[in-house]
Amino acid sequence: MKIFSASALFQTSILLYLLAAIAALVFIKQQKWDNIISNIICIIAAIFGIAASLMKILVEDMPINISIFHSTIPFISVELRIDHLSAFFVLSLSLLVVCVSLYSIGYISHYIGKRKVGLFNFLYSAFILSMFLVMTSGNAVFFLLTWEAMSLLSYFLVVFESEHEENQAAGTLYIIMTHVGTAFLMVGFMMMYSYTQSFDMFGSSADIPILAKNAMFIMFLIGFGTKAGVIPFHIWLPCAHPAAPSNVSALMSGIMIKTAIYGMLRFIFTYLGVQSTWWGALIIVLGIFSSTLGVSYAFVMANIKKLLAYSSIENIGIIFIGLGIGFIAQAQGHLTVSALAIIASLFHSFNHTLFKGSLFLGAGSIQYATHTKNMEELGGLIKKMPLTALFVLGGALSAASIVPFNGFIGEWLTYQSLFANIVPGQAALNILSILSVAVLAMTGAMAAASFVKLFGISFLGLPRSEQALQAKEVPCVMNIGTGILVTLCLFIGLFPLPILKVVDKVVLNLMGTSLIGQLQGGLLIAYYPLQISGNVISPLLFFVVLVAVILFALLVIRIIGGKYSERKYGTWDCGFEALNSRMQYSAAGFSNPIEIVFKILFRPSRKLKVEGKLAYHPESIEYTTVWESIFEKHLYNPIFYVIKMLSRRTKFIIQTGSIHSYLLYIFVVVLVLMMYNTFV
């Protein structure tokens, strides 16, 4: 074996993650060193991961097989198989891990002495390793095992700050939902085994009849959809992501929900193969719901991390729309459109990893400095934490898909694939595509509004609370971690081609179609996708023009306006004594118009509590809005109710408490088995 082969690098990376987990346990007594050592090993492991996956995608074409052990017990063998798709997701994971681990060195330091840092770092490294193995596992059983490990480890991380009751509730909801999802996956895998007699997920699915394939598709869609947090399976996501420590939220939102995208591509797209058009249509419909509803919920949230969590649902929706188009085009044989759509969704999922990671880290910095996640208690942070503010602004611009950040490129490619999918002669699908375009446009606008809210309320204006007033800039390592991610966002936004080339190689390997020739134009900055004229865009040029226009405008003002003098003075306060923080726009006030427009969605119930002796001179006014969560009320509660009723009834009918009847059950079962043996 060569030392510098991708295979060796992958193995080194895995071993280093293991080492990080062990080191976290070994140094459990020296919390400070534990934290530094374990995170640094994680960073090194991730750097190996980046090198390995890039090498795999760019240089080696054959899938890498690593067999760690084969046991004599059937199906239980640890084998890894890394092809381009796996390597691409490992690349996203590793990039994020480098930054998040850097960040953790600073962030976790506020746990030292208060919590079990060693345990946290062990869970953290093991969680990363489990995601790594999910992306690289070579058979369905091992996939399921690592998938479960990932769910369990992330559960422990979600409930790490378990003294808050809401965290416990969030953790419980999360573990229930993720297990429901896994149950569906298991059914899918069992169907796979019953038809093909193997758990080989790289094998052929030719033996599976079309009806079973449809059923398996539904199983996989629900199973992976739950992990992805796509609406209506999303209810765990807005609870679990805010409950976890911020570095874990960054990992969960940035990459863990992407393992579901990986699963969908691996099991549905490549293993089952796209069988009918309605598969794609269903995925698009889910995507449309997720993106619109997700972003509208995001807009009204006052909790920063909840806002980000809902924004993740929105982005997963966009990725799903891309995937759906890919599926439809694949089913109809439009390979280039399909390739473009898959490129778009892969690219967007990569971008989302970067910007959502940076935003969650930024939210963590805010929490670190002010000990609150509630925007109503923040404000004015741009003065206290200029670097954090800059990075959150960058992440927010990217998440709002604004040129020249990377979020824009992914969405733009998704638009392109949607437009390209509109071809004559298929009315229903065309309507779906046009609808998706409209939805995407609305989503973009709402996302921009949400992030204006996030940034404006938290960072601008005056501090709304004592904590915000006392906030200090976070340690340097934390800012480095966030900064790398934001810089990458900007870099990819300006020069998307290097990453697009990587994605294109992945898609070439996946589908046998390469688009890079059509995606790249003259100065390596323009795209000409699919010969649709007029759809040429160059973010770098945009940026240059933007800067030029601003400079030009300043110049013109200077020339026309002449010299002006600057004086610093308080804002005119209409004759009041002084302006204070209570006079500024609040988060609730900012989102109120939208809340009223979409009343049907939020069903807000408002409460106004006025205290004081005289009605016209109140001493305090309290205003609270409670949103009704329609999915929980109209979908989940009825299901829970039915299950509860059924189990109560069974308890009364079957579980009578009489030992005789229990013995009778055993007796009857034995007799029935013997009868079965006799007559069948």
Partner: protein, 218 residues
């Protein structure tokens, strides 16, 4: 040699019929003692045969263990347990004795038909020994269902165990020694725990009627 085993298996089956027909708890224990003695006899014959033909004496040791445990120790323990709890004469069975006996007959017939289809056990003719011993298992289970008092359940459990043991003995002609010893240790533990539980049940409910356990459910 096979004649002896046939006869013994029928006798063991017959002893479980007698058990089913018993009305008093004292007589359950007596019948169980007789059944265990018959099993010990079967193991003894098999052990002698084994020591002459193959020179292995482990089955003889097992035979000794059966005598010590199942013929002497466990019945004495049960008697002691029973003596320590309040004695009340009550109707202990749910169904009539004649109906239960008829059901036992039906079970034997059913077992015969069920086992007749299994290859490997039957070499040409149907292996009566295995049929009889499997029937003992089912009758033990039926006995547990039909008795109300907790001691009835213990005896039923022991009969099931006897049935399983004799099935294994007849179909393998001597299991590995370690397996035998493991089974015995399990049985002793189970009986001791069960005996203890009977005390507790009696303390809590002032009766060992397990129908009274119904209100324990959640």
């Amino acid at each position: 040699m096979s004649n002896y085993f046939d006869a013994l298996s029928v006798l063991i089956l017959f002893s479980s019929f007698i058990l089913m027909a018993n009305k008093r708890i004292k007589s359950y224990i007596k019948t169980f003692r007789i059944q265990s003695l018959l099993i010990a006899l079967a193991a003894g014959i098999m052990g002698i045969k084994g020591s002459f033909e193959e020179g292995r004496i482990d089955i003889l040791v097992v035979c000794l263990l059966i005598v010590v445990l199942k013929v002497i120790f466990i019945p004495n323990l049960l008697n002691k347990t029973y003596a320590n709890i309040e004695y009340k004469v009550e109707k202990d069975f749910i169904l009539n004795i004649p109906i239960l006996i008829l059901m036992c007959c039906a079970l034997v017939v059913f077992t015969y038909f069920s086992l007749s289809t299994i290859d490997g056990i039957n070499a040409g003719i149907i292996n009566t020994q295995v049929v009889n011993s499997v029937s003992v298992i089912l009758i033990g289970l039926l006995f547990m269902i039909s008795r109300k008092k907790a001691i009835g359940q213990i005896v039923g459990f022991l009969v099931i165990e006897n049935g399983l043991y004799i099935t294994a003995l007849f179909s393998t002609h001597g299991m590995p020694f370690i397996v035998d010893v493991g089974i015995f240790i399990d049985v002793i533990t189970a009986v001791m725990i069960l005996g203890f539980m009977v005390f507790r049940i009696n303390e809590k409910f002032e009766s060992i009627d397990i129908d009274k356990l119904n209100n324990l459910r959640g």
